[in-house]
Symmetry: C3
């Protein structure tokens, strides 16, 4: 991928919703805002191919030319996420089918069956036509395949493809029967054609079946992407290709497997809350995106200028800037939005935009222009590597497995557990890398495994090696429990990690978080707050007790343990501690390398060989003197041009110091 | 329509549920209660036509003769709301289909597809048979077509009819694509047959699509009604024809369009609460019904003798009377109930009735008899016109549009907003007319537009004219936002009303009503309570600030504005104020013409040229001396015969003063 | 049925989930735990008949031989609750269909259409094969047909069978139309083929239709059972046959009709709460099971070693013992569990087991071993009859009728009402028998009829006779309301019991239990607590007032009445009193024969002609001296061997005294 002249800044651009005179206004205002990249064509299939095989590229030609004339690049999308109504009518079998057997139809977006041959063919056809026409257009900077892959389907096409995938994965029916424990409840298959997607059934489904279907869907989506990518590659070998990953519990995508197929990881980030928590969720998403790509530059492809959620709220002054800069700080090669101009109609007519309904004198547009100007001063940061302090294991398969309706508690929330660990590290001023339990572990001093429910023997060995080499591992409850087929390891929890952790779990004691609280006390008697939804009866075989339960049926028994293994240390946390207590555990297990920044202040460092960049995002209400964070020598704030020594970052403000790297 | 000798009093009468000896008891008790009208045949299709084309009218002959012999009139219904099981079996395609594709079947009521040709034909057939047989029956007073039109359907018949209706409405596919903004999410249609009812789809639906489908369904229902009415008209030109409108967010009926097709607007009124709020809901429904008919007499066709809801509760002593009289006061030509005798079985076996399970010595039957006696003394009121003080815009299309899942807040509740304005005026002793934004505006000094989300340029002009002529308009938040296709007007809120109101909305600030409260203060510093679910960042272009936000991100900014336009005044309320503050706004904008009655006392006036009638309904716990309300000269209470000067209306009681009109 | 040498102890055993070496460990550990019976083959159809007509019995031969070699008996199940995937594929019409028309598929358990001919035939085929092979196997102790009958279905097979059942039940269509009040809402049927199962329809369903469909389903299930039982009987005339009843509001089974078809009533007991309430639910279920079988020995076929529910929690120390012993005390001929060894995979991989994931040193396995040892000492108790003190009417048809969506309150909870009466008696130390309103009433001094909504004239006569003979009847609100078709009796509540109770209900006053409370005071002015969800306006015709409402619209009116009839007494409780007040009513109506045991202590007595056994289960936290309960002469604790006089039952502990019966 060719290096960029500057950071990308812009958003989804849908001129097809507006008469052409508005396009001219768009160009003028994009230039005013400093836009450098516009994502076009995401939902234009029906316009580009109004009937099968007949194309109308005229309007898109004009859009791309106009962008180019105004110095703006284009991220050109395959419009495959929304097949046109004529396609639905001609190929009803290519529509997704719910588990209840309802065949969906057009009228929204993302309504396709990724396993349907007709859909695959039509996707390739429109992609070929786009590739042929625009491969050499001077505005083209990036191909974006599809939009937020993720539509589930349970129909016959999925059934056929699922069976093929299962044969490949399990080799034999016997192996599948064994992996899914089909002996339970009499589910044993005696021929492949008996296997179906998880469809409406009488009572609880089989967890192994559910898990494999999620894996299969993820691979089916990736297969579709790879087919389209091959077309684009062939037509324009030098233009990078990517797709924008959505993030959510329902998303059947495994970015660890998929990221290597992209030239640039791209993500859409829509936090589900506001205030400091939204700021943290941006940082969390950014660290994931960087990690998926193995540290390569990546791209924040979509975010909003307001808070989404049940209520669409404006962001507070400065939030658009801070949220964008946390991404740039953590390696994004730009900051993109959905979308440029608010739509008058359609399902997202109230989705916040760079240019809102109320127009150019809205506070949002002013901040968008300010952001464009700031990003222009950060072009050089691309060469600096993000400095990472700790790693956290994150595994979509584990997430899927923990959506089983058959678990011992409905309060087990994998995302919340992973986010909590990341948040605690974030508040300690540590920048986090994520790691897959099925890939080489990063060379960082601290590795946290929150609720790593699935852990093969191979993962257990990798973790043991990491510790033996001197690393510190902190594992929380349920880690190690089950094998890759979600079968509980013999001997119960912590399963594959039993020897490494030096404890056995004799009983689970789930708690009702609305009614119960069990106190936890450190070995020195200090108050560690409460366990809220989970506790365990531990048999401490070979470890030291660091904290104990203070009341309830487990009063006096071990809650947190630690033990040495080779050159390293291993901690086990058997309950869901609050942020403060978990912070205590992580600090003791591996003290932070630098002073913790003031509360509500986010600090990210990047280094080249000679230089250091320090991003300071002040999410709080108090001014932060530059001295409160560890700065590079002879540094200046790139944004304001002021010397580090003289600068105070105002409430809600940002600064990016650049200076000589300290030895 | 011939003038009635007296007010109508009675209810649905279902003798087919009982052996004939019970009918004799019914007649005796109806006479005792003073019943004058019985609605018959509402759900008798299967009995009247037990198999296709074979009729059995014998029992209905006997019922009508019996009623006539006892001096009771009949409202004869077409039984079309419940086609018989044999019809379902012969015409499964005439059953409604849900958006999920589930075809419903018989076993309840209202199970029909209003767009199905077979259903239309069968409806006409049974209607013709009834018309032929009973057009000249001496008991016949009124034809009632159907029951509470309202069954949605999404099947193929609906699809075909929807397309035809869309062609007519939009003229061309291009116009439809434009109106619905189908460019968004790639929904553009390239042929009419691609357009379907809103069916199960992958994600959010298109708001323009949803809105037009509601409009279409309303017209499909009206078309069915008109076809049946034509049959009845032809057979009995002098007998009035109507249908009973249900009221609810799901009801796909536009009474503004439909009322002109009735000889008498008829409504069913079932409040969803108890106590004073139920009393207000009755007044609200009555004002709607009168306004739909343009001030003509109308009819309360159904109400209950108890409170419905999750719990079926008895009404407090006096409530049956007061609820009935609020309707008569507001123009109803009677008070009817569902139903005469409580059913032993069936889905509504616990629905309150005039004659409950426990029989004639129940408190309910006693009050029913008292009501019958009182109504007998009010026959003359029919000639007096209801005096109206203010008008409120109410628009079912706006209600439908505000059911879109794509709005900036889930707390936008159109019905609650309209009800609140009506309630505040009701408590101020003002009688309200409702008006359609698509019809000439009433000549009243105050016009309130609560949450008028849809406002075409034509509506905006009509409102401007109203103000220019000296009227006072009070518009609340979101008014003016979108055009008739639910597309946001360019420039954002308040859209079409921007110039008239003299403000612009730069940002919406929705609030979580369970967690947030933002104070509002008058320009004089007085406390106006709180905004609970909505606030706005206003740019005051050409108006005076009457109140400001007191805290939160908008602290100090304008919350309520006012400005003069021509001879009139315009107010804008940018948040959802409580009743007290809204009352303050309405009183200042246009002071009530008369003294406000004591709290919990409802007063309605009617006038002929010479006389005035004053209805006083005391919903409260304290006696109300006649002097507390402005009475006609030389008046008497028609119910008790006592002179106005001497009378006190007891707690829970009623009085109807009649006397000379004051100059 | 041949008498057992000892009590049965064990659980479901699923060796097919494990490699054969694990079986050897199972045998060793079962012997260690004292297991005497293992339930095998429950979900093994797919393994036993891997394709249609091909059988593989080898593994089951080895399992049964192994059990026999280790001195363990087998309860051999027909595996019919889970037909194999090949069956689904070959017979999709034999899968159940939801009311919405969704045809379910395999992937869970219990997915069959009990009305489908193909399913019936396949069930008989595998049952015949099992019977032929194992009828004479020396390990065989018991045939268990199926598992927890209960899958609803609404498809065409069910429709056909339903119609046949209705013809039989009602005789004619006219009778059915009358029974269901189909005149209401125009539902009258003119041909049998128009009648369908209750399927998705537009609005509220018909309560008579719903009730008859539950009755029909119950009979359809029983028919399937009887067909299979006939096969097993023919093959092994001496081996008892049963099925394990599940208990829940959704279960379409009437144990009063079904129990006579079993050689031994068997039940699965899974309380939905923890602590003392779980202990009570065990006692409640045990009394039901004994009563269903008319006092014959019965079997606790399944329970869990932990608490199920949203959270799977371990039982407190001693609970597994106490819960098991309450069953044995109340007549169970053993204590069985689901399941022996926790499953590694499958939907119930976290279901508690006798041998949990964590293995033999878990607290659970220790308690299981202790239980096995104790049960070994109780073999003689089988000959002693359970002493009963009072009876409670319990009627599944009444439960089904009270699931109608058309009732006057959503808070009417039949199970809660019956459980409350049982709980109050349990706390008073009285052992309860249950009785059916359609069978001869038991000869006990107290009979309680909680919320007996359905009461035919025949039931009313039987209750009157019971009272006339000297019994005391306590009926609570809504008793007597409706006939067997759920039609309200003429004259309203208490319907068929009006004359017996001496009161009439003029109005129902349901309360919102979250917002309302109405005080109740005894005739002597004492505080009886509050009514929480129901109250009634009574007309006391011929009774004495025992308590009155203290506030609300019924203040001062009768709440509880009593009257004498013949040699007996009748009480009526018109509201839902709390436990304390209800306890007061029951104590006054019929004082307990013995001293009430200390709180939280459960006492059950059994007698032979010469001996008395007293089970004492101490659920509380305080030691209970033997003197606190009425003990047999010269008694000893069979479990510890200690003399009664010397023994104190420790907190959480149990004792079983055996001694000479006192005259």
């Amino acid at each position: 991928m060719p290096g960029p002249a500057s950071l990308w800044f812009g958003g989804d651009y849908n001129p097809d919703q507006w008469p052409e005179p508005v396009w001219q206004e768009d160009m003028r205002l994009m230039r005013r805002a400093g836009v450098t990249l516009a994502t076009v064509g995401v939902f234009s299939w029906s316009l580009l191919e109004p009937e099968e095989g007949r194309y109308d590229f005229g309007w898109l030609d004009r859009v791309l030319d106009l962008l180019h004339d105004n110095g703006i690049g284009a991220a050109l999308a395959t419009p495959t996420a929304s097949p046109p109504p004529w396609f639905t009518l001609a190929h009803p079998d290519a529509m997704p089918v719910t588990a209840q057997g309802v065949r969906l139809t057009h009228g929204s977006r993302d309504t396709y069956d990724v396993c349907a041959p007709a859909y695959r063919e039509a996707s390739l056809r429109i992609t070929r036509a786009l590739a042929e026409r625009y491969a050499r257009h001077p505005a083209l900077r990036l191909w974006r395949v599809h939009n937020e892959y993720g539509t589930h389907t349970h129909g016959e096409h999925a059934a056929r493809a699922f069976r093929a995938w299962l044969r490949e994965r399990h080799g034999s029916l016997d192996a599948l029967n064994d992996a899914w424990t089909t002996a339970f409840w009499g589910q044993r298959y005696s021929a492949w054609e008996q296997v179906q997607p998880p469809r409406a059934t009488q009572y609880l489904p089989n967890p192994g079946h559910l898990l494999d279907f999620r894996r299969f869907l993820a691979e089916a989506m990736r297969g579709h992407y790879r087919a389209l990518r091959a077309v684009l590659r062939a037509a324009a070998p030098d233009v990078p290709v990517t797709t924008n990953f959505a993030f959510g519990s329902w998303v059947p995508v495994d970015p660890w497997r998929w990221a290597p197929d992209t030239d640039l990881v791209a993500v859409d980030v829509y936090p589900d809350s506001t205030g400091l928590d939204a700021a943290h969720q941006h940082a969390f998403a950014a660290d994931l995106a960087r990690s998926w790509g193995g540290g390569r530059p990546w791209l924040l492809m979509e975010q909003a200028t307001g808070h989404l959620g049940p209520r669409t709220r404006p962001k507070a002054p400065g939030e658009v800037l801070r949220h964008s800069l946390t991404h740039v700080a953590r390696g994004s090669r730009g900051a993109m939005f959905f979308q440029w101009r608010a739509s008058a109609g359609g399902a997202e007519q109230w989705h916040p935009a760079m240019l809102p309904h109320s127009g150019t004198d809205s506070p949002v547009f002013a901040e968008v222009c300010e952001l464009g100007a700031l990003l222009g001063r950060l072009a050089d940061v691309g060469g600096a590597r993000v400095a990472e302090d700790a790693a956290v294991l994150w595994d979509p398969e584990c997430w899927w497995a923990l959506q089983s309706p058959s678990l011992p508690s409905p309060d087990l929330d994998y995302l919340a557990a992973v986010r909590q660990v990341h948040r605690v590290l974030w508040r300690q001023g540590r920048t986090t890398a994520f790691a897959s339990p099925r890939a080489p572990l990063p060379d960082l001093p601290l590795l946290v495994a929150p609720m790593l429910y699935l852990a093969s023997q191979q993962t257990a060995r990798a973790l043991a090696d990491y510790v033996a080499r001197g690393g510190t591992l902190v594992a929380t409850y349920l880690s190690g429990t089950a094998d890759e087929h979600a079968r509980v390891h013999r001997g119960g929890c912590p399963g594959a990690l039993r020897d490494l952790l030096g404890v056995r779990v004799l009983q689970h004691h789930p708690l009702d978080p609305r009614e119960e609280r069990v106190g936890v006390r450190g070995a020195d008697g200090s108050d560690w707050g409460c366990a809220r939804s989970w506790s365990e009866y531990l048999d401490v075989v070979d470890a030291r007790v660091e904290a104990r339960y203070a009341d309830g049926p487990l009063a006096g028994r071990a809650a947190v343990t630690r033990t040495g293994r080779g050159a390293g240390q291993v901690w086990y946390v058997s309950c869901d501690l609050g942020d403060d207590a978990l912070g205590k555990v992580l600090s003791r297990a591996c003290p932070p390398a630098r002073t913790t920044p003031p509360p509500d202040v986010e600090v990210v460092r990047r280094h080249t060989r000679e230089e250091t960049w320090v991003f300071v995002l002040n999410h709080g209400g108090r001014p932060v003197p530059a001295a409160a964070v560890d700065l590079p020598g002879n540094g200046q704030d790139v944004l304001s041009g002021v010397d580090a020594a003289a600068l105070t970052v105002p409430p809600g403000g940002v600064a990016v110091f650049r200076g000589a790297r300290r030895p």
